[in-house]
Each structure stands twice: as C-alpha cells, then as structure tokens.
Amino acid sequence: MNSITIGQYYPADSLIHRMDPRVKITGAFLLLIGAFLIESVPGLIFSLLFLGVITALSKVPFRHMIRSLRGIVVILAIAVIFNIFMVPGNAILTMGALTVTDAGLIKAGYMFFRLTYIVAGTSLMTYTTTPVRLTEGLERIFAPLSLIKVPVREIAMIMSIALRFIPVLGEEAQKIKTAQMSRGADFESGNILVRAKSMVPVLVPLFVSAFRRADELSLAMESRCYDPSAKRGSMKPLRFGLRDGLAFLCLGAYMGIMVTIRVLI
C-alpha cells in the first residue's frame, strides 16, 4: 500500500514548491489539455522536454514520479490493448480473431504516452503542494461558485482531509491484510474475481475503522473551534508574485507551442 503515492506531498524546497498553488492547478489543467494535443513526434518531444524541465525544477526524484504510475497500470494496460487490436489499418500480425495493425500500434503508443503524461503532470502538482495549499488554491479558483450557494470552502476542507488520510488508511489496510493473512487468508491466488472477493475481509474492517476515525476527527476539529460558517484566518495566505506571473507566461508559451505544433504538423 505504500506504493500509492498519488496525492502525497513530497517535502522539498524548490521553485515549484514555493509557487502559488493557483498557478500549479492551472498548470496541471493545461498539461491535461496539452496531453490531448499530442499527435506528432515533435509535439511528443516538446511536451516531454517541458515536463522534464519542471520535474527537474521541482526536485522531486524521478523514481518517485515513476512510482505514481503504478496506480494506473491496469487502466494503461486496458487502453493500450484496446488500441492495439481495435484500430483498423495495415495488419502486421494476426492471432486468431485478433489483428495487430500499424495504426493501432502507433495509436496505442500515443495513448500510453498521454495517460502517463497526465498522471505525471497532476502528481507533480500534488507532490509539490501541501493539501492545505492545494485546497486553498482550489477554494480561491472556485470562490465565485459560492455565490450560487455551492459550499466551496466545505468541499475544500473535505478534500484536504481526504488527502491527509490516504497514507493513514493505506497503512491500516496493510495491517488488516497482514492480520488476515496470519489467519490463513489468501490474497495471491485465483483469478481477478476470486482475488477481488478475498479483499472483502480487508475492506469491511477498513470501512468500519474509517467511520470511527471520522467520528473522532470531527470531535477533535470541533474542540479546536472549527466552525464552517465562521471567517477563518489564513496561515499561508496566497500572494501572487512576479515569479507566479512569469510561470503563467511559461504556461501560456507551452500552450501556444503545443497548439502551433498540432495545427502545423
């Protein structure tokens, strides 16, 4: 369970860490759009270069970035396999009813790259931004929605707590799993269905414990004067500085180049 690194903060002091979360949220969103503009080799190389530069600036180790991909291995595999076999084109290899086509291979390659790119881009945001800053950023971006009675601040608080408890629940799931294994539970053998079923004795106690934790956490928050309707102070207020402006310009340039490559090539 410790392999799940999505949504976890990687403590370091870097340019990207210090950046305004609103810039990083916008950046992650633009990388997502950028991923779907990749249709050619130059686009692929340029976007890879861009991600490489910001990863290097963020001081997040490359190994850590790779680890975030583990969570989407299944989705990746499905996307790639479907593309390989389902896209019509010149047949390269035929295995019974299944045909691998050249267009399929290329499409699968791009799909693989796009999904990896999206996950890497968004996890870079969560690695370099503490959940509190992240939710503060989201809160500010979506603040106008509170005019139409969307509880933006409450949603932001719920999100930050969810992110905070990912490692806690992960550790707990591991403990329960070990406890069940020591009593003879088998999680490794059988097909997917059997293995999914064998997770039930892990998930039920995990849920029960999550509810108990939620109950205790709400008491602790209340006793520390949390009042959703009151005006809260801010420990790390967002200041949009020159650096953030420049970062926005870089993001703009990235989008511009991606669109140009897409249109021209």
Partner: protein
C-alpha cells in the same frame, strides 16, 4: 481561583428503540461536583465506563449536562454563545494521535486552531512557533505526520491545542496508545507546560505512575467522584482502590506488602527515590 466549576451535573446515554422510546438508560455522570483551581495538575482515574471521558467532554462543551452546570472561567457551557470561547479556553488532546491531526504537515496542523480563531497571519505564525518550541517539536515543523513516532504525534496534537492559548488542557487517555518512551515524552511536555506556563492540566489516564506525578487525584466510580485528594492520600487507601478495580504504583504496593509483613516503613511512599531512602534508613537503624 477556580477555573472550572462543576455543580451537580447529570448526563445519561439513552438508547432508543425504533419508535424513539427510551430502551436503555445509562447514567454516565451522576450529580458530579468538582472545583478546579487555575494552575492545578489533576489526574483522573477510574475503571472503564466510570464516566472519565464523558466528564472530559463536558469540559469544553462537546457535551452539555442534562442537569446542573459546567462553568469555565465564569462561562456556562450551556449557553450557545459561550461554546467557542469555552473551547478556546479548554483544549482537548485525544487518545488516537492520527485521528486528531488535521493538517498534512506539522506546522499546518498546529496552525489549524489559530486559523479557526480568525487571527492575522503574523499572529498565527507567532503562536505556531511558540507552541512548537514549547513542546520541542520545532525541528519537525516541515515533516508529514506519518514520519513521526507516536509520542511525537501526540506532542504535535498538544502543540495544536497550545496554539489556541488555552488556560486548561484536558488529556483524554492521550498516552494510552504510546510506548513507554512516547509516554515519557508526552508527560514531560505536559509537566513543563504546567510548571512554566501555568496551564491547568487535567490528565485522564490508566497509568498509575503518571497519576503519581499530579498534585491531585480524582477517582471516579460509576459516574461519581469516589475519591479526591493528594496522591499520597489516595494511594494510602490501597484496599479501597483495589475494590474499584484500580492498581497502585509498584512502589506503593511494595511498601504496603512490606508493612503488612511487619517492616516499619513510613506511609506515603510513592517514588522510587522515596522508597530507596526509606529502605536505606531502615538498614542503617538495624
């Protein structure tokens, strides 16, 4: 001057059937009276279900009594407008360290309380820095909670409470899930706060050696105060404590056994040092 004044409070847990009629009533607090002076260090003992935690939750308006009143620094917890001022004055530290840390890095968690009070940014940082220094956690301020030991997590929780500048800190079995080293860490932090900042401490515990460090011990039994006095006085009532299902510190039990075997040990030995000097005194005489 009394900071907490509890008079004749009654609290019941009522289980209802599907029609909403009471099925089972359990009286958790049965007309409890208690007076706490500012700056006191009180330990609350009692078997499971004796009403310790229910009492603790009345101290910062998480629960309010059905009868009687809890008055904190002149404020009745029953008045809705007093709820937040009361919680600012009485901080609570709970048993499970993971379930009370809201922030994902240490300093952000300690800042949670001051943020809730709607303070200015510089003010929040002042309080966070002070609280982290007072609990010795300043060096860990940038860490994520999952990299801390149990004792360190509880000290962060204490710092989080301290940052609200409370006059009273209630520790509801806050050491129960810790190893001996973690317990010692937490106890040292708490005693230091009591000594240097004159914070009133109410420590709910199962550990007799922790209770022995308090100035005053309150023993609860079936929702009522069964004993109230200085540790020496409480631990001398050895049989009574055993009857309540409670233990005494090892040294107290040892001196009790030695006395009943005919050794002329003085009453009121609690610490190991006291025991050692009493025994060497006896050896010299013989």
């Amino acid at each position: 001057m009394s900071i907490i004044k509890i008079s004749k409070i009654l609290f019941e847990y009522i289980r209802r059937d599907s029609e909403g009629n009471p099925k089972q009533i359990k009286t958790a607090l049965d007309h409890v009276d208690l007076d706490v002076r500012e700056g006191e260090f009180i330990a609350v003992l009692g078997a499971n279900g004796s009403g310790k935690s229910t009492l603790a939750r009345h101290l910062n308006a998480l629960l309010t009594p059905e009868e009687g009143a809890v008055v904190i620094g002149g404020m009745d917890t029953k008045a809705p407008e007093n709820v937040y001022p009361v919680r600012r004055n009485v901080g609570m530290v709970f048993q499970n360290p993971d379930n009370q840390i809201v922030g994902s890095i240490v300093e952000e968690d300690v800042g949670f309380g001051p943020e809730n009070l709607g303070l200015e940014t510089t003010d929040i940082w002042d309080r966070v820095a002070n609280a982290l220094e007072a609990t010795g956690m300043w060096a860990c301020r940038m860490k994520t909670p999952d990299r801390l030991s149990g004792g360190q997590k509880q000290r962060v929780a204490i710092a989080g409470v301290l940052a609200m500048r409370p006059r009273v800190i209630v520790l509801d079995e806050a050491t129960a899930m810790l190893d001996p080293a973690g317990r010692r860490e937490v106890m040292e932090s708490v005693m230091e706060l009591n000594r240097s900042e004159h914070v009133t401490v109410i420590l709910i515990t199962h550990h007799m050696d922790e209770a022995a460090m308090a100035q005053r011990i309150i023993v609860m039994k079936e929702g009522a105060v069964a004993m109230d006095g200085a540790p020496k006085e409480i631990f001398s009532r050895y049989e009574e404590l055993s009857g309540l299902g409670l233990d005494v510190p090892d040294t107290v039990r040892l001196s009790h056994i030695l006395r009943s075997e005919g050794m002329p040990l003085p009453e009121g030995i609690i610490t190991r040092e006291e025991m050692a000097s009493a025994l060497t005194g006896l050896l010299k005489e013989s």
